[in-house]
């Protein structure tokens, strides 16, 4: 499914000025680059701090990550100035680059982390992954056995691998993107198709319908 982007209502003066200054030459361009870099560093630091509670990184590593993200975003922005179409403020468009750089660098960090397991299969973890209460095992045991069967019988090898990594092993999606050498959209679509197949299999077995679980 695709959605149409609404036509821009008109560029504000600051958003018109940024690309002009950045595409220019001499001291004016240098000054614009320095201002944009400072903005990007501020946004990158804020984003790293926002994600900090979930990251296994120390203070200096976090600051280093923020500076690297800002520098890489600045290069990307200046090389793609022609792609700015005025559909948002220039700064919003520029901030997207640095947010995505922070996101990608965090994905690469997990990839290097020795604790990340991609292919190991421990199906005993499945109840915990979804938060099922061990005390109520009698209620969900058959359902999760059916889910395991559906994973084995309905999914392609690639769908199964993505399911095992993301669901069983809790590998971040962006880390899997790097490991499998593809892009986020491809992994998401693989998991999307797997989810649809698994729901259909559980529905065929009478566990679920459009209204939810059929618990006896």
């Amino acid at each position: 499914m695709t959605e149409q982007i609404a036509a821009p209502a008109g560029l504000d003066a600051e958003s018109a000025e940024w690309p002009r200054a950045l595409a220019g030459t001499g001291p004016e361009r240098e000054e614009a680059l320095a201002r944009l870099h400072a903005l990007l560093v501020r946004i990158a630091r804020g984003e790293v701090a926002r994600r900090f509670p979930r990251l296994q990184l120390s203070g200096p590593e976090l600051d280093d990550l923020a500076y690297q993200a800002a520098a890489d975003a600045l290069v990307a922005i200046t090389s793609k100035l022609g792609q700015f179409r005025g559909e948002s403020r220039f700064t919003t468009w520029a901030y997207k680059f640095v947010i995505l750089e922070v996101s990608a660098k965090i994905g690469r960090h997990f990839w290097r982390h020795p604790g990340v397991r991609l292919d190991a299969e421990d199906w005993e973890r499945l109840p915990d992954r979804f938060g099922f209460d061990p005390a109520q095992q009698a209620e969900w045991r058959d359902l999760l056995a059916a889910l395991h069967r559906a994973v084995d019988q309905e999914l392609t090898a690639r769908q199964r691998r993505v399911f095992v990594a993301i669901v069983l092993n809790n590998v971040p999606l962006d880390t899997l993107v790097i490991e499998l050498g593809c892009n986020r959209n491809a992994i998401y679509q693989t998991l999307f198709d797997a989810r649809r197949k698994l729901r259909a299999a559980l529905a065929a077995d009478g566990y679920i319908d459009d209204d939810g679980w059929r618990r006896s």
């Binding site: 499914m1 695709t2 959605e3 982007i5 609404a6 501020r42 946004i43 630091r45 804020g46 984003e47 926002r50 994600r51 559909e87 948002s88 403020r89 919003t92 468009w93 901030y95 997207k96 947010i99 995505l100 922070v102 996101s103 994905g107 109840p127 979804f130 938060g131 099922f132 209460d133 969900w140 359902l143 889910l147 669901v167 971040p172 999606l173 962006d174 892009n183 986020r184 959209n185 998401y188 679509q189 999307f192 989810r195 649809r196 698994l198 729901r199 559980l202 679920i208 939810g212 679980w213 618990r215």
Partner: protein
Amino acid sequence: MNGWSALDRFLRTDPRDVGCAQAMEMLHIYAELAGDGAPVEERYPGVAAHLRACGPCGEDFEGLLAAVRGEAG
């Protein structure tokens, strides 16, 4: 959220979901409108469906929204 609702949520797919590529393409537009208080979920239901279902894209959206609102740094 208990195991039943978490698994139900995981297995539910929204046919309007535009996927990561288009959601990222439109993220700056969507975040700016959301930051301005516009009804983005009605205007771009496919992007909204994707951001609800995709953890990494949803996280990127929250980060950009915080930046647009001046909450970063």
